[in-house]
Protein backbone atom coordinates (compact mmCIF):
# COMPACT_ATOMS: atom_id res chain seq x y z
CA UNK A 1 0.00 0.00 0.00
CA UNK A 2 2.81 2.39 0.92
CA UNK A 3 4.37 1.83 -2.50
CA UNK A 4 1.11 2.68 -4.26
CA UNK A 5 0.73 5.88 -2.28
CA UNK A 6 4.32 6.94 -2.89
CA UNK A 7 3.95 6.26 -6.60
CA UNK A 8 0.73 8.25 -6.71
CA UNK A 9 2.33 11.15 -4.85
CA UNK A 10 5.17 11.14 -7.38
CA UNK A 11 2.76 11.08 -10.30
CA UNK A 12 0.73 13.89 -8.79
CA UNK A 13 3.84 15.96 -8.26
CA UNK A 14 4.89 15.50 -11.90
CA UNK A 15 1.39 16.39 -13.08
CA UNK A 16 1.26 19.42 -10.78
CA UNK A 17 4.49 20.90 -12.06
CA UNK A 18 3.68 20.22 -15.71
CA UNK A 19 0.37 22.07 -15.41
CA UNK A 20 1.86 24.88 -13.36
CA UNK A 21 4.74 25.48 -15.73
CA UNK A 22 2.64 25.39 -18.90
CA UNK A 23 -0.05 27.69 -17.55
CA UNK A 24 2.55 29.80 -15.80
CA UNK A 25 4.14 30.57 -19.16
CA UNK A 26 0.73 31.47 -20.61
CA UNK A 27 0.02 33.85 -17.74
CA UNK A 28 3.44 35.44 -17.35
CA UNK A 29 4.22 35.86 -21.04
CA UNK A 30 1.87 38.84 -21.61
CA UNK A 31 3.32 40.60 -18.59
CA UNK A 32 6.89 40.02 -19.71
CA UNK A 33 5.85 41.23 -23.17
CA UNK A 34 4.37 44.39 -21.65
CA UNK A 35 7.61 45.07 -19.85
CA UNK A 36 9.64 44.50 -23.03
CA UNK A 37 7.25 46.59 -25.11
CA UNK A 38 7.23 49.51 -22.68
CA UNK A 39 11.03 49.72 -22.58
CA UNK A 40 11.37 50.02 -26.36
CA UNK A 41 11.20 53.79 -26.14
CA UNK A 42 13.68 55.20 -23.67
CA UNK A 43 12.33 57.45 -20.95
CA UNK A 44 8.84 55.97 -20.75
CA UNK A 45 9.24 54.71 -17.22
CA UNK A 46 11.11 57.71 -15.92
CA UNK A 47 8.26 59.87 -17.19
CA UNK A 48 5.78 57.80 -15.19
CA UNK A 49 7.36 58.66 -11.86
CA UNK A 50 7.78 62.33 -12.74
CA UNK A 51 4.30 63.63 -12.06
CA UNK A 52 4.70 67.29 -13.15
CA UNK A 53 6.30 66.24 -16.43
CA UNK A 54 3.70 63.54 -17.01
CA UNK A 55 1.00 66.09 -16.36
CA UNK A 56 2.57 68.33 -18.97
CA UNK A 57 3.22 65.69 -21.64
CA UNK A 58 0.00 63.69 -21.28
CA UNK A 59 -2.57 65.95 -19.60
CA UNK A 60 -5.42 63.54 -20.46
CA UNK A 61 -3.68 60.66 -18.76
CA UNK A 62 -2.94 62.70 -15.65
CA UNK A 63 -6.57 63.83 -15.53
CA UNK A 64 -7.70 60.22 -15.89
CA UNK A 65 -5.47 59.06 -13.05
CA UNK A 66 -6.74 61.80 -10.75
CA UNK A 67 -10.36 61.11 -11.75
CA UNK A 68 -10.00 57.38 -11.07
CA UNK A 69 -8.43 57.91 -7.65
CA UNK A 70 -11.17 60.33 -6.66
CA UNK A 71 -13.86 58.02 -7.98
CA UNK A 72 -12.40 55.06 -6.10
CA UNK A 73 -12.28 56.95 -2.81
CA UNK A 74 -15.72 58.48 -3.12
CA UNK A 75 -17.32 55.22 -4.26
CA UNK A 76 -15.87 53.37 -1.28
CA UNK A 77 -17.19 56.11 1.01
CA UNK A 78 -20.68 56.20 -0.52
CA UNK A 79 -20.87 52.39 -0.56
CA UNK A 80 -20.00 52.21 3.15
CA UNK A 81 -22.37 55.00 4.17
CA UNK A 82 -25.19 53.42 2.20
CA UNK A 83 -24.61 49.74 2.84
CA UNK A 84 -23.20 49.28 6.34
CA UNK A 85 -25.97 51.04 8.32
CA UNK A 86 -28.63 49.43 6.13
CA UNK A 87 -27.18 45.94 6.53
CA UNK A 88 -26.98 46.33 10.32
CA UNK A 89 -30.41 47.94 10.57
CA UNK A 90 -32.06 45.26 8.46
CA UNK A 91 -30.54 42.52 10.59
CA UNK A 92 -31.64 44.14 13.83
CA UNK A 93 -35.02 45.65 13.09
CA UNK A 94 -36.30 44.50 9.71
CA UNK A 95 -35.40 40.82 9.34
CA UNK A 96 -38.30 40.36 6.94
CA UNK A 97 -36.75 42.89 4.56
CA UNK A 98 -33.48 40.99 4.40
CA UNK A 99 -34.30 38.80 1.38
CA UNK A 100 -35.32 41.92 -0.56
CA UNK A 101 -32.13 43.81 0.34
CA UNK A 102 -30.04 40.78 -0.54
CA UNK A 103 -31.84 40.38 -3.86
CA UNK A 104 -31.33 44.05 -4.73
CA UNK A 105 -27.66 43.90 -3.80
CA UNK A 106 -26.99 40.81 -5.89
CA UNK A 107 -29.10 41.98 -8.85
CA UNK A 108 -26.21 43.80 -10.60
CA UNK A 109 -24.53 40.40 -11.04
CA UNK A 110 -27.15 39.42 -13.62
CA UNK A 111 -27.11 42.82 -15.32
CA UNK A 112 -23.98 43.26 -17.45
CA UNK A 113 -22.39 46.71 -17.21
CA UNK A 114 -23.06 47.30 -20.88
CA UNK A 115 -26.80 46.77 -20.23
CA UNK A 116 -26.75 48.95 -17.13
CA UNK A 117 -25.20 51.75 -19.16
CA UNK A 118 -28.09 51.62 -21.65
CA UNK A 119 -30.55 52.17 -18.82
CA UNK A 120 -28.35 54.66 -17.01
CA UNK A 121 -28.10 57.01 -20.00
CA UNK A 122 -31.47 58.73 -19.33
CA UNK A 123 -30.84 58.78 -15.56
CA UNK A 124 -27.50 60.46 -16.20
CA UNK A 125 -29.19 63.06 -18.39
CA UNK A 126 -30.85 64.18 -15.12
CA UNK A 127 -27.64 63.83 -13.13
CA UNK A 128 -25.90 66.08 -15.64
CA UNK A 129 -28.78 68.55 -15.44
CA UNK A 130 -28.57 68.79 -11.64
CA UNK A 131 -24.90 68.17 -10.89
CA UNK A 132 -23.08 68.83 -14.15
CA UNK A 133 -21.09 66.48 -16.34
CA UNK A 134 -18.14 65.96 -14.01
CA UNK A 135 -16.46 62.54 -14.08
CA UNK A 136 -17.06 62.32 -10.35
CA UNK A 137 -20.77 61.75 -10.99
CA UNK A 138 -19.81 58.22 -12.10
CA UNK A 139 -19.59 57.43 -8.39
CA UNK A 140 -23.38 56.88 -8.36
CA UNK A 141 -23.19 54.18 -11.01
CA UNK A 142 -20.07 52.60 -9.53
CA UNK A 143 -21.73 52.24 -6.15
CA UNK A 144 -24.39 50.10 -7.82
CA UNK A 145 -21.72 48.15 -9.69
CA UNK A 146 -19.81 47.18 -6.53
CA UNK A 147 -22.94 46.43 -4.50
CA UNK A 148 -22.83 42.60 -4.88
CA UNK A 149 -19.18 42.30 -3.86
CA UNK A 150 -19.38 44.81 -1.04
CA UNK A 151 -22.62 43.33 0.27
CA UNK A 152 -21.22 39.80 0.38
CA UNK A 153 -18.13 40.99 2.27
CA UNK A 154 -20.13 42.99 4.80
CA UNK A 155 -22.82 40.33 5.19
CA UNK A 156 -20.15 37.71 5.88
CA UNK A 157 -18.68 40.00 8.53
CA UNK A 158 -22.06 40.50 10.18
CA UNK A 159 -22.81 36.76 10.11
CA UNK A 160 -19.62 36.06 12.01
CA UNK A 161 -20.68 38.09 15.04
CA UNK A 162 -23.82 38.11 17.18
CA UNK A 163 -25.16 41.50 16.13
CA UNK A 164 -28.40 41.16 18.03
CA UNK A 165 -26.84 40.42 21.42
CA UNK A 166 -24.25 43.15 20.98
CA UNK A 167 -26.93 45.67 20.09
CA UNK A 168 -29.21 44.63 22.92
CA UNK A 169 -26.38 44.84 25.42
CA UNK A 170 -25.46 48.31 24.21
CA UNK A 171 -29.10 49.44 24.15
CA UNK A 172 -29.58 48.06 27.66
CA UNK A 173 -26.69 50.22 28.82
CA UNK A 174 -28.40 53.25 27.35
CA UNK A 175 -26.73 53.59 23.96
CA UNK A 176 -28.57 55.22 21.08
CA UNK A 177 -28.75 53.57 17.66
CA UNK A 178 -25.94 55.72 16.32
CA UNK A 179 -23.66 54.62 19.16
CA UNK A 180 -24.67 51.00 18.58
CA UNK A 181 -23.61 51.18 14.96
CA UNK A 182 -20.58 53.41 15.20
CA UNK A 183 -19.01 52.22 18.44
CA UNK A 184 -20.29 48.69 18.94
CA UNK A 185 -21.02 46.90 15.66
CA UNK A 186 -18.61 48.69 13.33
CA UNK A 187 -15.40 47.93 15.29
CA UNK A 188 -16.44 44.27 15.25
CA UNK A 189 -16.74 44.06 11.47
CA UNK A 190 -13.69 46.19 10.72
CA UNK A 191 -11.95 43.61 8.55
CA UNK A 192 -15.14 42.96 6.55
CA UNK A 193 -15.55 46.70 5.96
CA UNK A 194 -11.91 46.92 4.91
CA UNK A 195 -12.22 44.11 2.41
CA UNK A 196 -15.40 45.65 0.99
CA UNK A 197 -13.55 48.94 0.56
CA UNK A 198 -10.52 47.25 -1.05
CA UNK A 199 -12.71 45.37 -3.51
CA UNK A 200 -14.51 48.61 -4.35
CA UNK A 201 -11.27 50.45 -5.03
CA UNK A 202 -9.94 47.60 -7.18
CA UNK A 203 -13.14 47.39 -9.22
CA UNK A 204 -13.43 51.14 -9.73
CA UNK A 205 -9.80 51.47 -10.84
CA UNK A 206 -10.49 48.85 -13.52
CA UNK A 207 -13.81 50.22 -14.75
CA UNK A 208 -14.08 51.19 -18.39
CA UNK A 209 -17.53 50.40 -19.79
CA UNK A 210 -19.67 52.97 -18.01
CA UNK A 211 -17.12 55.78 -18.05
CA UNK A 212 -16.44 55.42 -21.73
CA UNK A 213 -20.06 55.16 -22.85
CA UNK A 214 -21.28 58.01 -20.64
CA UNK A 215 -18.51 60.20 -22.09
CA UNK A 216 -16.64 60.72 -18.86
CA UNK A 217 -13.02 60.04 -18.07
CA UNK A 218 -11.07 57.79 -15.77
CA UNK A 219 -7.82 55.86 -15.84
CA UNK A 220 -9.01 53.14 -18.24
CA UNK A 221 -10.60 55.59 -20.65
CA UNK A 222 -7.40 57.62 -20.64
CA UNK A 223 -5.27 54.53 -21.29
CA UNK A 224 -7.48 53.51 -24.18
CA UNK A 225 -7.31 57.02 -25.64
CA UNK A 226 -3.55 57.12 -25.16
CA UNK A 227 -3.21 53.80 -26.98
CA UNK A 228 -4.19 55.53 -30.19
CA UNK A 229 -1.30 58.01 -30.06
CA UNK A 230 1.45 56.50 -27.90
CA UNK A 231 1.39 52.72 -27.70
CA UNK A 232 4.53 52.45 -25.55
CA UNK A 233 3.25 54.82 -22.89
CA UNK A 234 -0.17 53.21 -22.78
CA UNK A 235 1.36 49.77 -22.27
CA UNK A 236 3.60 51.12 -19.50
CA UNK A 237 0.59 52.65 -17.74
CA UNK A 238 -1.39 49.42 -18.22
CA UNK A 239 1.37 47.43 -16.57
CA UNK A 240 1.53 49.90 -13.68
CA UNK A 241 -2.23 49.77 -13.21
CA UNK A 242 -2.11 46.00 -13.26
CA UNK A 243 0.65 45.84 -10.67
CA UNK A 244 -1.28 48.28 -8.51
CA UNK A 245 -4.38 46.07 -8.70
CA UNK A 246 -2.17 43.07 -7.88
CA UNK A 247 -0.88 44.70 -4.73
CA UNK A 248 -4.36 45.84 -3.68
CA UNK A 249 -5.97 42.44 -4.16
CA UNK A 250 -3.06 40.52 -2.67
CA UNK A 251 -3.37 42.69 0.43
CA UNK A 252 -7.06 41.90 0.40
CA UNK A 253 -6.51 38.16 0.21
CA UNK A 254 -4.02 38.40 3.08
CA UNK A 255 -6.68 40.21 5.13
CA UNK A 256 -9.16 37.48 4.21
CA UNK A 257 -6.72 34.80 5.33
CA UNK A 258 -6.03 36.32 8.72
CA UNK A 259 -9.74 36.76 9.29
CA UNK A 260 -10.44 33.11 8.51
CA UNK A 261 -7.69 31.92 10.77
CA UNK A 262 -9.03 33.89 13.70
CA UNK A 263 -12.52 32.37 13.68
Amino acid sequence: MAGVIARRARKQRAFRWTVLILLGVFFLLPMAAMLEFSTRTAGTWSLLVDWPKLNETYPDLAAGIVASLEQAGLTALLMLVLLVPTAIWVRLRLPRLRPLVEFLCLLPLTIPAIVLVVGLAPVYAWVTYFLGGSSLTLVFAYTVLVLPYAYRAIDAGLSAIDVKTLAEAARGLGAGWFTVMWRVVLPNIRSAVLSAAFLTVALVLGEFTIASLLHRTNLQVAIEFLGKSSATMSVAVSLTALLLAFVLLLLLSLFGDSRKRKT
Binding site: L94, L97, P112, I114, V118, G119, L120, V123, L254
Partner: protein, 288 residues
Protein backbone atom coordinates in the same frame (compact mmCIF):
# COMPACT_ATOMS: atom_id res chain seq x y z
CA UNK B 1 -45.25 44.79 23.07
CA UNK B 2 -48.26 46.75 21.94
CA UNK B 3 -46.02 49.48 20.53
CA UNK B 4 -44.34 47.06 18.11
CA UNK B 5 -46.42 47.83 14.97
CA UNK B 6 -45.83 51.58 15.28
CA UNK B 7 -42.15 50.99 15.84
CA UNK B 8 -41.88 48.79 12.77
CA UNK B 9 -43.25 51.62 10.66
CA UNK B 10 -40.56 53.88 12.07
CA UNK B 11 -37.96 51.17 11.60
CA UNK B 12 -38.80 51.04 7.91
CA UNK B 13 -37.53 54.61 7.61
CA UNK B 14 -34.04 53.30 8.32
CA UNK B 15 -34.03 51.36 5.07
CA UNK B 16 -35.39 54.21 2.99
CA UNK B 17 -32.10 55.85 1.89
CA UNK B 18 -30.78 52.56 0.57
CA UNK B 19 -34.03 51.65 -1.17
CA UNK B 20 -34.38 55.08 -2.78
CA UNK B 21 -30.80 54.98 -4.01
CA UNK B 22 -31.17 51.51 -5.48
CA UNK B 23 -34.48 52.53 -7.06
CA UNK B 24 -32.88 55.46 -8.86
CA UNK B 25 -29.63 53.91 -10.01
CA UNK B 26 -30.56 50.25 -10.44
CA UNK B 27 -34.30 49.73 -10.75
CA UNK B 28 -35.03 52.70 -13.02
CA UNK B 29 -32.19 51.79 -15.45
CA UNK B 30 -33.47 48.21 -15.53
CA UNK B 31 -37.00 49.42 -16.24
CA UNK B 32 -35.72 51.83 -18.88
CA UNK B 33 -34.20 48.87 -20.71
CA UNK B 34 -37.20 46.58 -20.19
CA UNK B 35 -39.80 49.16 -21.19
CA UNK B 36 -37.69 50.80 -23.88
CA UNK B 37 -37.31 47.46 -25.61
CA UNK B 38 -41.08 47.51 -26.23
CA UNK B 39 -41.47 51.20 -27.02
CA UNK B 40 -41.49 52.86 -30.42
CA UNK B 41 -38.80 55.39 -31.17
CA UNK B 42 -41.25 58.25 -30.94
CA UNK B 43 -41.14 57.63 -27.21
CA UNK B 44 -44.68 56.42 -26.83
CA UNK B 45 -46.75 53.44 -27.77
CA UNK B 46 -46.22 49.73 -27.31
CA UNK B 47 -44.50 47.95 -30.16
CA UNK B 48 -42.84 44.64 -30.84
CA UNK B 49 -40.74 46.12 -33.66
CA UNK B 50 -37.53 46.32 -31.62
CA UNK B 51 -37.81 42.77 -30.38
CA UNK B 52 -38.70 41.61 -33.88
CA UNK B 53 -35.64 43.43 -35.20
CA UNK B 54 -33.53 41.14 -33.04
CA UNK B 55 -34.28 38.56 -35.72
CA UNK B 56 -32.39 40.66 -38.28
CA UNK B 57 -29.55 38.78 -39.82
CA UNK B 58 -26.70 40.96 -38.54
CA UNK B 59 -28.03 40.96 -34.97
CA UNK B 60 -28.61 37.22 -34.95
CA UNK B 61 -25.10 36.76 -36.30
CA UNK B 62 -23.71 38.97 -33.51
CA UNK B 63 -25.67 36.99 -30.91
CA UNK B 64 -24.35 33.79 -32.46
CA UNK B 65 -20.77 35.03 -32.32
CA UNK B 66 -21.25 36.17 -28.72
CA UNK B 67 -22.55 32.74 -27.74
CA UNK B 68 -19.73 31.01 -29.62
CA UNK B 69 -17.08 33.22 -28.05
CA UNK B 70 -18.54 32.73 -24.57
CA UNK B 71 -18.93 28.97 -25.03
CA UNK B 72 -15.42 28.45 -26.41
CA UNK B 73 -13.71 30.62 -23.81
CA UNK B 74 -15.81 28.95 -21.08
CA UNK B 75 -14.83 25.52 -22.40
CA UNK B 76 -11.10 26.28 -22.53
CA UNK B 77 -11.28 28.14 -19.23
CA UNK B 78 -13.17 25.30 -17.54
CA UNK B 79 -10.87 22.53 -18.79
CA UNK B 80 -7.56 24.27 -18.08
CA UNK B 81 -8.89 25.86 -14.91
CA UNK B 82 -10.06 22.47 -13.62
CA UNK B 83 -6.65 20.94 -14.39
CA UNK B 84 -4.93 23.75 -12.52
CA UNK B 85 -7.37 23.48 -9.62
CA UNK B 86 -6.75 19.73 -9.43
CA UNK B 87 -3.02 20.32 -9.48
CA UNK B 88 -3.47 22.72 -6.58
CA UNK B 89 -5.72 20.36 -4.66
CA UNK B 90 -2.94 17.75 -4.64
CA UNK B 91 -0.48 20.29 -3.23
CA UNK B 92 -0.04 20.81 0.48
CA UNK B 93 -3.15 22.55 1.84
CA UNK B 94 -2.22 25.94 3.20
CA UNK B 95 1.20 25.67 1.54
CA UNK B 96 2.96 28.54 -0.16
CA UNK B 97 2.31 27.26 -3.69
CA UNK B 98 -1.40 26.94 -3.17
CA UNK B 99 -1.78 30.28 -1.41
CA UNK B 100 0.19 32.11 -4.10
CA UNK B 101 -1.68 30.60 -7.03
CA UNK B 102 -5.10 31.15 -5.41
CA UNK B 103 -4.29 34.77 -4.64
CA UNK B 104 -2.95 35.32 -8.14
CA UNK B 105 -6.10 33.75 -9.58
CA UNK B 106 -8.20 36.16 -7.56
CA UNK B 107 -6.35 39.05 -9.16
CA UNK B 108 -6.21 37.69 -12.69
CA UNK B 109 -9.91 36.79 -12.74
CA UNK B 110 -10.58 40.51 -12.29
CA UNK B 111 -7.99 41.41 -14.89
CA UNK B 112 -9.94 42.38 -17.94
CA UNK B 113 -10.69 45.37 -20.01
CA UNK B 114 -8.30 47.82 -21.55
CA UNK B 115 -5.19 46.67 -19.69
CA UNK B 116 -5.70 43.05 -20.75
CA UNK B 117 -6.28 44.09 -24.35
CA UNK B 118 -3.05 46.08 -24.31
CA UNK B 119 -1.18 43.21 -22.67
CA UNK B 120 -2.09 41.02 -25.61
CA UNK B 121 -1.30 43.77 -28.09
CA UNK B 122 2.18 43.93 -26.58
CA UNK B 123 2.44 40.13 -26.76
CA UNK B 124 0.92 39.03 -30.06
CA UNK B 125 0.02 42.35 -31.62
CA UNK B 126 1.48 43.07 -35.04
CA UNK B 127 4.68 44.42 -33.47
CA UNK B 128 4.25 42.42 -30.28
CA UNK B 129 7.00 40.67 -28.38
CA UNK B 130 6.09 37.10 -29.36
CA UNK B 131 5.13 37.97 -32.93
CA UNK B 132 8.44 39.68 -33.61
CA UNK B 133 10.47 37.04 -31.77
CA UNK B 134 8.89 34.20 -33.74
CA UNK B 135 9.46 36.05 -37.00
CA UNK B 136 13.10 36.75 -36.29
CA UNK B 137 14.13 33.51 -34.64
CA UNK B 138 11.84 30.84 -35.99
CA UNK B 139 10.74 32.40 -39.25
CA UNK B 140 7.13 31.86 -38.28
CA UNK B 141 4.56 34.49 -39.11
CA UNK B 142 1.57 33.89 -36.86
CA UNK B 143 -0.45 36.26 -39.00
CA UNK B 144 0.41 34.65 -42.34
CA UNK B 145 -3.28 34.05 -42.94
CA UNK B 146 -4.43 37.46 -41.79
CA UNK B 147 -4.52 39.15 -38.41
CA UNK B 148 -6.83 37.05 -36.24
CA UNK B 149 -6.18 38.88 -32.95
CA UNK B 150 -9.01 41.34 -33.51
CA UNK B 151 -11.48 38.65 -34.54
CA UNK B 152 -13.18 35.75 -32.81
CA UNK B 153 -10.08 33.52 -32.40
CA UNK B 154 -8.12 36.39 -30.85
CA UNK B 155 -10.99 37.35 -28.56
CA UNK B 156 -11.33 33.73 -27.43
CA UNK B 157 -7.63 33.57 -26.56
CA UNK B 158 -7.75 36.87 -24.65
CA UNK B 159 -10.94 35.91 -22.78
CA UNK B 160 -9.41 32.58 -21.78
CA UNK B 161 -6.81 34.59 -19.90
CA UNK B 162 -9.36 35.69 -17.31
CA UNK B 163 -11.57 32.60 -17.54
CA UNK B 164 -8.95 30.11 -16.30
CA UNK B 165 -8.30 31.94 -13.00
CA UNK B 166 -12.04 32.36 -12.43
CA UNK B 167 -12.48 28.61 -12.90
CA UNK B 168 -9.75 27.96 -10.34
CA UNK B 169 -11.56 30.13 -7.80
CA UNK B 170 -15.01 28.62 -8.27
CA UNK B 171 -13.97 24.99 -8.83
CA UNK B 172 -11.32 24.56 -6.14
CA UNK B 173 -13.84 24.41 -3.25
CA UNK B 174 -15.62 21.50 -4.95
CA UNK B 175 -12.34 19.61 -5.37
CA UNK B 176 -11.56 20.26 -1.72
CA UNK B 177 -14.90 18.69 -0.86
CA UNK B 178 -13.70 15.34 -2.26
CA UNK B 179 -12.66 13.24 0.71
CA UNK B 180 -9.63 10.95 0.55
CA UNK B 181 -11.74 8.32 2.33
CA UNK B 182 -13.82 7.92 -0.83
CA UNK B 183 -10.76 6.98 -2.81
CA UNK B 184 -9.65 4.60 -0.07
CA UNK B 185 -13.11 3.05 0.01
CA UNK B 186 -13.00 2.56 -3.76
CA UNK B 187 -9.62 0.89 -3.49
CA UNK B 188 -10.68 -1.34 -0.59
CA UNK B 189 -13.55 -2.55 -2.76
CA UNK B 190 -11.08 -3.36 -5.53
CA UNK B 191 -11.73 -0.35 -7.76
CA UNK B 192 -9.07 0.99 -10.11
CA UNK B 193 -8.05 4.61 -10.57
CA UNK B 194 -10.09 4.71 -13.77
CA UNK B 195 -13.16 3.40 -11.94
CA UNK B 196 -12.62 5.89 -9.15
CA UNK B 197 -12.64 8.82 -11.56
CA UNK B 198 -15.50 7.63 -13.76
CA UNK B 199 -17.76 6.13 -11.10
CA UNK B 200 -17.05 8.11 -7.92
CA UNK B 201 -15.25 11.43 -8.32
CA UNK B 202 -16.51 12.15 -11.84
CA UNK B 203 -20.23 12.03 -11.09
CA UNK B 204 -19.67 13.93 -7.85
CA UNK B 205 -17.75 16.69 -9.58
CA UNK B 206 -19.87 16.87 -12.73
CA UNK B 207 -22.50 19.32 -11.39
CA UNK B 208 -19.80 21.56 -9.96
CA UNK B 209 -17.84 21.49 -13.21
CA UNK B 210 -20.92 22.23 -15.31
CA UNK B 211 -22.06 24.96 -12.96
CA UNK B 212 -18.65 26.62 -12.98
CA UNK B 213 -18.57 26.42 -16.79
CA UNK B 214 -21.96 28.17 -16.89
CA UNK B 215 -20.65 30.91 -14.64
CA UNK B 216 -17.70 31.34 -16.99
CA UNK B 217 -20.10 31.52 -19.92
CA UNK B 218 -22.10 34.31 -18.27
CA UNK B 219 -18.87 36.08 -17.39
CA UNK B 220 -17.65 36.09 -20.98
CA UNK B 221 -21.10 36.89 -22.37
CA UNK B 222 -21.39 40.09 -20.31
CA UNK B 223 -17.79 41.22 -20.85
CA UNK B 224 -17.49 44.43 -22.84
CA UNK B 225 -14.33 46.40 -22.06
CA UNK B 226 -11.78 43.87 -23.34
CA UNK B 227 -13.53 43.48 -26.67
CA UNK B 228 -14.17 47.22 -26.96
CA UNK B 229 -10.49 48.03 -26.51
CA UNK B 230 -9.40 45.31 -28.92
CA UNK B 231 -11.95 45.67 -31.71
CA UNK B 232 -12.29 49.15 -33.09
CA UNK B 233 -13.62 48.26 -36.52
CA UNK B 234 -16.95 46.56 -36.89
CA UNK B 235 -19.12 45.23 -34.11
CA UNK B 236 -18.82 41.45 -34.23
CA UNK B 237 -20.41 40.64 -30.86
CA UNK B 238 -23.57 41.82 -29.10
CA UNK B 239 -21.99 44.11 -26.47
CA UNK B 240 -20.24 45.94 -29.32
CA UNK B 241 -23.50 46.12 -31.28
CA UNK B 242 -25.00 47.86 -28.25
CA UNK B 243 -22.06 50.25 -28.26
CA UNK B 244 -22.86 50.97 -31.90
CA UNK B 245 -26.51 51.62 -31.09
CA UNK B 246 -25.56 53.88 -28.17
CA UNK B 247 -22.95 55.96 -29.95
CA UNK B 248 -24.75 56.40 -33.24
CA UNK B 249 -28.10 57.55 -32.00
CA UNK B 250 -28.32 59.81 -35.00
CA UNK B 251 -29.27 56.74 -36.97
CA UNK B 252 -33.02 56.64 -36.66
CA UNK B 253 -34.54 53.64 -34.93
CA UNK B 254 -31.32 52.61 -33.19
CA UNK B 255 -31.91 53.89 -29.65
CA UNK B 256 -34.57 51.43 -28.63
CA UNK B 257 -33.10 48.62 -30.69
CA UNK B 258 -30.10 48.91 -28.36
CA UNK B 259 -32.47 48.43 -25.44
CA UNK B 260 -33.95 45.34 -27.07
CA UNK B 261 -30.46 43.87 -27.54
CA UNK B 262 -29.64 44.75 -23.93
CA UNK B 263 -32.80 42.96 -22.80
CA UNK B 264 -31.79 39.96 -24.89
CA UNK B 265 -28.44 39.88 -23.08
CA UNK B 266 -30.14 40.05 -19.68
CA UNK B 267 -32.42 37.15 -20.61
CA UNK B 268 -29.46 34.97 -21.67
CA UNK B 269 -27.46 35.83 -18.54
CA UNK B 270 -30.48 35.30 -16.28
CA UNK B 271 -31.20 31.84 -17.75
CA UNK B 272 -27.55 30.81 -17.44
CA UNK B 273 -27.28 32.10 -13.88
CA UNK B 274 -30.49 30.30 -12.85
CA UNK B 275 -29.09 27.02 -14.17
CA UNK B 276 -25.87 27.81 -12.34
CA UNK B 277 -27.59 28.26 -8.99
CA UNK B 278 -29.58 25.04 -9.51
CA UNK B 279 -26.38 23.11 -10.16
CA UNK B 280 -24.73 24.86 -7.24
CA UNK B 281 -27.46 23.57 -4.95
CA UNK B 282 -26.93 20.06 -6.25
CA UNK B 283 -23.17 20.33 -5.72
CA UNK B 284 -23.68 21.49 -2.14
CA UNK B 285 -25.46 18.21 -1.33
CA UNK B 286 -22.21 16.23 -1.50
CA UNK B 287 -19.31 18.61 -1.74
CA UNK B 288 -20.57 21.57 0.29
Amino acid sequence: MAVRPRLRGAALLGAVPFLVYVAIFLIIPTLVVAIGAFTGDGGHGFTLDNVRALGDEYILAAFGRSVLLSALSALFGAVFGALLAYALSTAKPGGLLRRTVTAASGVLAQFGGVTLAFAFLATIGISGFVTVWLQEHAGVDIYANGVWLFELPGLTLVYTYFQIPLMVIVFLPALDGIRPQWREATENLGGTTWQYWTRVAGPLLAPAFLGSALLLFANAFSAYATAAALVSQGNPIIPLQIRGALTSEVVLGQANLGKAMALGMVVVVAVVMTLYSLLQRRTARWLG
